[in-house]
Every structure is written in C-alpha cells, then in structure tokens.
C-alpha cells in the first residue's frame, strides 16, 4: 500500500513538474523526424513576427489543415496532419508562449 502511494505521488509530482509545452507538445512530437526547432523555423519563415507566428500557430492547432500547414507536402503526405487541439485557451496560449520563448531568434545571434 505504502509503495503504491509513493509511486502515485512520484508520478503526479513528475507530471506537474513538466510545463505546458512539455506536457502538450513534446510528448507527441518526439516521435516525428522533424524537430520542434525545425518546425519553429518554418513558422518563422512563414509568419516573421512574434504576434504573427503565435496567431498562425494557434489557428493551425485549432483548425489543422493541409492548405495552411507550414510543413512540406512530402512531410504531410508521410505523417498526415495533426488532430484538432482540445486544449483549453489558457493551456494552448501558455504552450505557444513557452514554445516562442524557447526557440525565438532574438538575442541569440552574435
């Protein structure tokens, strides 16, 4: 009984120690051949600024479609498009914000 309780606590703590991005994005994308960084660059190349990138990303996650995907046709034909996100507004915004902060180009060039 004690062992089960400890295992449960460890699992719960582990789950909540992850941030929204890790919980909602990394889990699924780790199986894809393209990194999240690479995908970020695709978004950046398509949308340029922070507001634009975030809005484009959010729209795609809510309404995924082949026609608005930033990925190549080859990639989509191989892996298809993702399912519509069911995350709450807050959770989705948080994930996108963390994603932007993690891979943004600002202050990284020298």
């Amino acid at each position: 009984m004690v062992k089960k309780t400890v295992l449960f606590v460890i699992l719960v703590t582990g789950l909540f120690s992850q941030d929204a991005y890790e919980r909602n994005c990394v889990e699924c994308h780790k199986d894809l051949p393209t990194t999240l960084q690479q995908m970020f660059k695709e978004y950046l190349q398509m949308y340029s600024g922070e507001e634009n990138v975030k809005a484009g990303l959010k729209h795609y996650l809510r309404y995924p479609s082949k026609s608005i995907s930033v990925m190549s046709e080859l990639f989509i034909n191989s892996y298809g498009i993702k399912k519509k996100s069911t995350l709450s507004e807050q959770e989705l915004n948080e994930s996108i914000n963390i994603y932007w902060d993690k891979f943004k180009v600002f202050d990284k060039l020298k």
């Binding site: 960084q37 190349q45 949308y47 340029s48 180009v105 060039l109």
Partner: protein, 395 residues
Amino acid sequence: MLVSKNKATNSLLKSEKKSLLRFLTLYVAMVIFMITLLSLFYYQNQEKLMLSDQRASLAKYAYIQTKRLKVLHYFFDERTTYPRDPRFRSAIYDIELMKIFSLLGDESIRFDEEIYITNKHIHFVKTLDTYYLGTKYLIIEVEDDGVWREEIWKHILVYGFIAFLLFMLFGLFLAKLFLRPMRNSIMLLDRFIKDTTHELNTPLSAILANIEMMDTDVMVEKNKKKLNRINIAAKTVSTLYKDLTYLTLEQESENEDEEIAVKSVLENRVEYFDILAKSKNITFVLSLQHATIFMDKRKFIRVIDNLISNAIKYNKRGGVIEIVLNESSLTVSDTGIGIAEDKIPFIFDRYMRFNQSEGGFGVGLSIVKKIVDEYNIQIEVESKEGKGTKMVLIW
C-alpha cells in the same frame, strides 16, 4: 510723350523713393524666395540622383546578404554568427518592426522608404518575401562621405548668386520702367511752368512798378483800399513768380555768396509781407538778435519768403507769426492749420500740397529744402494739426 530732361527732376522725390523702396523690397523678397525654392528643388533632385546611383550597389549588397541569411536560417541554431561584410553594415527586423539583429551605426530607420540619407549614412531597406529567421526588413547601411552635398552647395551658391545679380539688374530695369510715367508727368509740369513764367515777367513788373509809383496821398479812401488789394494780389503773384523763376532758371546760375545780416533781411521781408499779413489780421511777433550767414542773398531771400508766406497762407485769421532769430538759428512759427504727423516727411516734395483750399503749385518748400541742403543748413519741422507749425533753421 517725350519730355526734355530738366536738371531739377533728376533727383528722386521722397514719395518716389518710398515707392521704389517698397517695390524693391517686395521684389528682393520675391527673388530670394524664388531662388531658395529653386535651390531646394535642385538639392532634392541632386540628392535623388545620388541615391539612384547608390541604389544599384546597395541592392546588390542586399541580395548577397539575403543569400547569407538563407544559409544562416537553415543552419540556425548550430550557427549563430550573423554574416558581416566589410563593404556595408546591415540589420534585420521582423514584420512587427522588432529588431532581430543589427550592426548599424545609425538606428533611425524609415521602413516606408526604400533608400534615404540619415545622419552621415545611407540606408537601403529591402523587404524580403521569404522571412529567413523571421526577417521581413533587411537594412543595408553605407557611409555617406558628403562630397556630393558639398558639390551641390557650391553650385547653389555660385548659380544662386549669379541668378540674384541678374534678377537685380532686371529689377532695376523694371523699377525705371515703373517710375517713368511719374517722372514724365513731373517733367511735363516743369516744362509748362518754365514756359509760362517767361510770359508772366513783363506784366507783373509793370503792375508792381506802377503800384509803387502811384501817389496815394491824392487818392480817396475807397480807391486806396482797392489799390491795397491790388498790391496784395500782385505781391502774392510776385512771390510765386520768383519761386517759379528760381526753380526753372536761377538755381542753375552761379552762387554769389556774401555775408548777410540776417536781422535786416528779416525786417525787410516782414515789412514786405506785412500788407499780406494784415489782410488776414495776422500779427508778427519778432525777437531778433544780430546774426550773419554766408550765402547767396537771392537764395536766402527765397527761403525767408517761403517760410513767411507759408506762415501767412496757412495761418488762421487773426493769428500770430512768431519769428525768433538767434546767433545761428531762425524759428518761424505760426498758429495755423498745422500738418498731420504722417505727412511731415513729404512736405519738401515738389508739387506736394496738403491743403487744396490755398493756391500755389506746391514748390515753395521744395525750393527751401534744396537751398538749405546746398548750404548744409539744418531744417526742423514741428507741427500739430489745428495748432500750428514751427520751422527751425540751424546753421
């Protein structure tokens, strides 16, 4: 109409000078404005020309830098070194005008212009279609050596100055053209007066001589009064005649300067005008000290006659004329109609008459001014409308 030129009309009248000055001021202001405007257009044109020369090389730099950004985009973030080039500096901005990275010397960027000059730099703004690293705007910067600007300024100063001189010459020609009708009418009037004065001489001399010769003792009182009136009228015409003769003939003759006892001349002229003054019940108040002046007596008498006759002519009935003579000054003041303050500067202009009710040609004070200027005598005028006028000669 062609009118022969009289020496007296060569100098500009004050009113002419004022008109000329106004015209020239307006003209100069207009010319300066026009040259400034032309210079501005020229400057802007030359600047555009210089920028279009620069545009080709800057566009080439932008193309090179875009290719480098493309490479950096694909290798980011293993490579994070922004591409540099010794020929130019550059910066990248995203679609929201946020700076991604910059090496610019001058960060004041105008995103809505393709090429422009900013504080000692030339900026070329290229808008990318593919946003490598999020770059929407690529700014290429090169130093502006300013040589072209010095050249333009040199051209503006040299050509501007030449244009200004040409415009001024043209302006003088215009001013002459503008004054010609006024001048012609003055010369015509001079000519007319010159011709008519000749015809006045003989009858006037005859009248004056005969009045002098008449024996008033044997006359009845009624006739004496009539003769008196004839005398006054003849003296008035005589004064006018002398002024006109002076104006048209005598002023060109040689001066016969001599030491004049001013007091006795004054007494003599007051006596001469006494009959005129009495006709308006005007009283002379004299305060005369001994004084001398070295000048042509005829000219001095013209000055005195004009001052006294004006004081009588413009005085009120029953008024007073005060003549004060000091060692080197003479004051003639009346209790007449006076002159408006704004008209005082023009009283010495020829044919200038402020009161149309009195006769005359308006030449008296212009003669006075000519003579006093010739002898460096200072003349001061103090006048109050309705109170009187005071003329002061200082030598």
